[in-house]
């Protein structure tokens, strides 16, 4: 097997109603990484996951998981994959333990109560093992879905919007679970609306919009490449107009008239900060403080999607 655990080539999906959900997707997922797929509603994230997992049939293209074809060798590919769906879809009247054990059986694995116990404990569900699913809270049901997906010890875990509607504490716990899974070598692909989620746990980020992959990049690289920084210059005295000598810097006066904001790009060799500070000094303005702010993934994501929609 190459370093790419999942290889997607020219994958397209047109639904019966004519909706073109995916357009010639090419994407590789590396073994052991956490890959976050970002995209607005209807971008094609769930369709892509559903095709790889075998729930939706592709219209064209090829997907392999550890060199096995998802159609011809579906038993091989699916047994390696665990899926946590977006919706809280669970049997209502079964107990937690039985339902998670059922999932393990479905995936062709011999019953192993010790493993089920380990998974339930890891997700803080062990004390709820005999409760029927209907009696669980939304957050607990979300954990059960994760437990079900981990019941057959998958090598790859798909999390479709795992923390949608989940409180901050549980979200943090789930991130910890994801990180611990990565430590034992499980590859994780998650879709999310929460950019901070991708920013917090992902190694690589892919942005999908209108069925097309716009960009795939290491998270840090993406932020570095696409991100702008803002230098905020606080002044000792109020400034009403930008002096002529500073107009070339496109400065913005702060709302309290006591600061100037300068936007620059880290990609450029010369950011112009030295010259700016010299010119501010020469113009007679007196500095009080300086601070810089990095634009986050959210701003990058919004910019990318906006640009893609305009094209």
């Amino acid at each position: 097997m190459s370093e790419n655990q999942i290889v997607i080539n020219d994958l397209s999906k047109v639904y019966d109603n004519g909706f073109n959900a995916l357009k010639n997707i090419n994407l590789n997922i590396k073994k052991g990484e956490i890959f976050a797929m970002l995209g607005p509603n209807g971008a094609g994230k769930t369709t892509l996951i559903s095709i790889i997992c075998g729930i939706v049939k592709p219209s064209s293209g090829k997907v392999t998981v550890e060199d096995f074809d998802i159609i011809e060798d579906y038993r091989e590919t699916r047994s390696r994959i665990g899926l946590v769906p977006q919706e809280l879809t669970l049997e209502q009247f079964e107990t937690v333990f039985n339902n998670v054990s059922y999932s393990r059986g479905l995936y062709g694995k011999k019953p192993d109560p010790t493993h089920i116990e380990k998974v339930l404990k890891q997700l803080s569900l062990w004390d709820k093992k005999d409760l029927i699913l209907r009696k669980l809270s939304g957050g607990m049901k979300r954990r059960v879905l994760i437990a079900k997906a981990l019941s057959h010890e998958p090598k790859i875990l798909f999390l479709d919007e795992p923390t949608a509607g989940v409180d901050v504490e549980l979200r943090q716990e789930m991130w910890n679970v994801v990180k611990s899974l990565r430590e034992i070598g499980v590859t994780i692909i998650l879709t999310t609306h929460y950019i901070e989620e991708a920013e917090e746990i992902a190694d690589r980020v892919g942005v999908i919009n209108q069925g097309e992959i716009i960009i795939v990049e290491q998270k840090k690289e993406l932020i570095k490449k696409m991100g702008h920084k803002v230098l905020s210059v606080e002044l000792q005295e109020e400034v009403k107009d930008i002096p002529d000598s500073l107009k070339k810097y496109n400065l913005i006066i702060g709302s309290n008239k006591m600061s100037l904001a300068y936007t620059y790009n880290l990609k450029e060799k010369q950011t112009g900060i030295t010259n700016l500070l010299q010119d501010i000094k020469d113009s007679g303005l007196k500095l009080k403080d300086l601070k810089t702010e990095q634009s986050n993934l959210e701003k990058i994501f919004v910019t990318l999607v906006k640009e893609n929609n305009e094209n």
Binding site: Y15, D16, C53, G54, I55, V56, K57, Y74, R75, E76, T77, R78, S79, I81, L83, P85, E87, T89, L90, E91, Q92, F93, E94, N98, Y102, S103, R104, G105, L106, Y107, G108, K109, K110, P111, K148
Partner: protein
């Protein structure tokens, strides 16, 4: 993994567990309603009806009522079995599992047929309290019960697969199967009908099923029992072909 044995077992026992959890609805309800038929038609009205082919009316109706239960139960058990995961969304897990479509069908149908046979067995025992029930050909009876249960469980799977809502699910059992059983000689001998209606009845396939089951009980039949066995096998084949086509197309579940 050539055959997903554990996957088959998981679905089968998952379905049987549902049966266990809802014993009141899945076992008690059909047993009570069939017992009411035994009491009203067999014991009460049956006392005023003369023997048919030397058999008391109470005994005569047992195979027909047993068949009614088998057909409605096998269809509803399996149709609900597959419709429910479709309805509540848990079907995703079955679709994403490394289990073939045929293993899925076999697991649901086997569970549906097992549940039906359990209900049928309890009704058979209950009938002993209300009528003199003898089985002349027990092996033939078991063969017919198993064949009918599996065939109609598969038909039920088909119904559950294509149904879009609960109303569509109830159409076949309520508007097709029940009238066919009642008009198929479950409560009367075909000889009792005027000649014209006898001819019409020959087009009702359920007539042959009831007649052959009655033969296994009392050794009397309006037809050669192999006609009904042949018809069952034909119907089973048609169901297998339709289910296969649907599964190939994405079984009305996969988009």
């Amino acid at each position: 993994m050539k055959i997903n044995y554990y996957g088959f077992k998981a679905i089968y026992f998952h379905e049987m567990d549902r049966f266990r959890r809802t014993l009141g609805q899945s076992l008690l309800s059909p047993v009570i309603s069939t017992s009411l038929y035994f009491i009203v038609f067999g014991s009460v009205i049956g006392g005023y009806v003369q023997k048919i082919d030397g058999i008391s009316y109470g005994s005569f109706i047992v195979p027909g009522l047993l068949m009614l239960t088998l057909l409605t139960q096998s269809i509803s058990n399996t149709s609900f079995g597959i419709f429910f995961p479709k309805f509540n969304g848990t079907i995703y897990e079955i679709l994403a599992a490394p289990i073939s479509a045929y293993e899925i069908v076999l697991a649901f149908v086997s569970a549906g047929a097992t549940k039906t046979l359990i209900v049928g067995f309890v009704i058979f025992l209950t009938a002993q309290f209300f009528a003199d029930v003898q089985v002349q050909y027990p092996l033939l009876m078991i063969f017919l019960l198993v064949l009918v249960s599996f065939t109609f469980a598969l038909f039920g799977f088909l119904v559950g697969l294509v149904s879009k809502d609960f109303e569509q699910m109830s159409i076949i059992p309520s508007f097709v199967i029940t009238p066919m059983v009642f008009l198929g000689g479950s409560l009367y001998s075909l000889d009792m009908l005027p000649e014209f209606w006898q001819v019409v009845t020959y087009f009702n396939p359920v007539v042959y099923l009831i007649s052959s089951l009655r033969y296994s009980f009392y050794g009397i039949s309006d037809f050669n029992i192999w006609i009904s066995v042949g018809l069952m096998v034909l119907f089973l084949s048609v169901c297998v072909i339709i289910v296969s086509i649907l599964l190939k197309k994405g079984y009305s579940i996969k988009s």
